[in-house]
């Protein structure tokens, strides 16, 4: 997919059969006023506290998607378990943090169920980073999310939601259990606490910034 700064439809060529698509329209004047929207994903197993986390820092709203699976153009092997359906309705959590008028950060809670993996690709495209929320009582439930973001090279961190009554494990133990790369931040949090969630989100963006800066450093790649 080709990204430009901004574009609209191409009214000059309505019947253009060129389906390669996605190219910006005719030389449209750049609008310095166009605001910037960024998104962070919040992933993790069912019931791990994704909704709570998003709600702790933003006004949370449910978002309905009614997806045509064939139109989405996913590889067929991504659709295991939903072959019989051509459309499906998925609800996910969605929050908005307005940092200033022209700078908005969106949070998306990824659908927890495995059968909605196809939605992740769309959510992940262009994502600034991701939080994998983990519950030490059910650590295995976040393996898939860790794998997903590792494979796609999306900056992510693991935030262990410290549930009341759950046994606390040292970070090193959790890191080892997840086989986490040393560079991936891991921190403890309380998804109910605004201050704690703010720190988690700020840390993801710091991590993304560090990776971006590294990638942009000249003459590192041979």
């Amino acid at each position: 997919m080709v990204y430009g700064r901004s574009s609209s439809g191409d009214p000059d060529r309505p019947g253009d059969p060129d389906r390669s698509g996605g190219l910006p329209g005719p030389a449209r004047a750049r609008r310095p006023a166009d605001p910037v929207a960024l998104k962070l994903l919040v992933a993790g197993g069912f019931g791990v506290g994704k909704t709570t986390l998003v709600g702790a820092v933003s006004e949370i709203r449910p978002l309905r998607t009614e997806e045509d699976l064939s139109e989405a153009g996913r590889p067929l092997d991504d659709l295991r378990g939903v072959e019989a359906k051509s459309t499906t309705t998925v609800a996910m959590d969605f929050g908005r943090i307005t940092l200033r008028d022209e700078l908005v950060l969106y949070l998306f809670g990824t659908p927890g169920q495995d059968r909605f993996w196809f939605l992740w690709d769309e959510l992940a495209q262009g994502a600034l980073g991701a939080v994998v929320l983990a519950d030490t009582r059910r650590l295995a439930e976040c393996f898939a999310a860790v794998d997903y973001f590792e494979r796609r090279g999306i900056p992510f961190l693991v935030a262990v939601n410290c549930f009341d009554g759950a046994e606390r494990f040292p970070a090193a133990t959790v890191r080892a259990a997840l086989d986490l790369d040393d560079r991936v931040p891991l921190l403890m949090c309380d998804a109910r606490e605004r201050e704690s969630v703010k720190e988690v989100l700020a840390t993801v963006v710091e991590h993304a910034l560090a990776l971006t800066t590294r990638d942009r450093a000249p003459a590192v790649r041979g």
Partner: protein
């Protein structure tokens, strides 16, 4: 049927004008009825969830185009104060994202709005915006 049914919007009536449903039946108008059954538009780009819908000057008077539905007009109005994303609009209008994509696509075709494409982080022109996000989050 009650008066409430009779006062329903056009399209909520049964085939013969009979009011055969009540509120318990849930929404009778299928979401894609608002798009006249279309699930995509001539606009080739697939609108990202965080693509922002920005009104064009022509949008100051959306009523001039008589082909626009009330939902079209509402989208234009909602974006008037400050730009809203596809996800904002879908949540605010309580419509599925796919429906909002089609409606916004119509508005783009009509040159009433344009849509910003999200900039992938690696293509941000200036990483200082990420520092601003970090500081902004901590200051919330």
């Amino acid at each position: 049927m009650s008066d409430a049914g009779r006062q329903g919007r056009p399209g909520e009536r049964g085939p013969g004008g009979d009011h055969w449903f009540d509120d318990d039946a849930g929404p009778v108008v299928r979401p894609y009825a608002m798009t006249r059954g279309r699930t995509s538009t001539a606009t080739r780009q697939r609108l990202d969830l965080i693509a922002l819908v920005v009104p064009e000057p022509a949008a100051a008077d959306p009523g001039r185009d008589q082909t626009l539905s009330p939902e079209h007009v509402e989208i234009v109005q909602r974006c008037g104060d400050f730009p809203r994303s596809i996800a904002d609009l879908a949540a605010g209008l309580d419509l599925p994202v796919g429906v909002v994509r089609v409606l916004v696509g119509d508005l783009v075709e009509d040159a009433l709005v344009h849509v910003t494409r999200p900039v992938p982080p690696a293509e941000l022109p200036d990483v200082s915006i990420l520092r601003e996000v970090i500081n902004g989050l901590r200051a919330l």
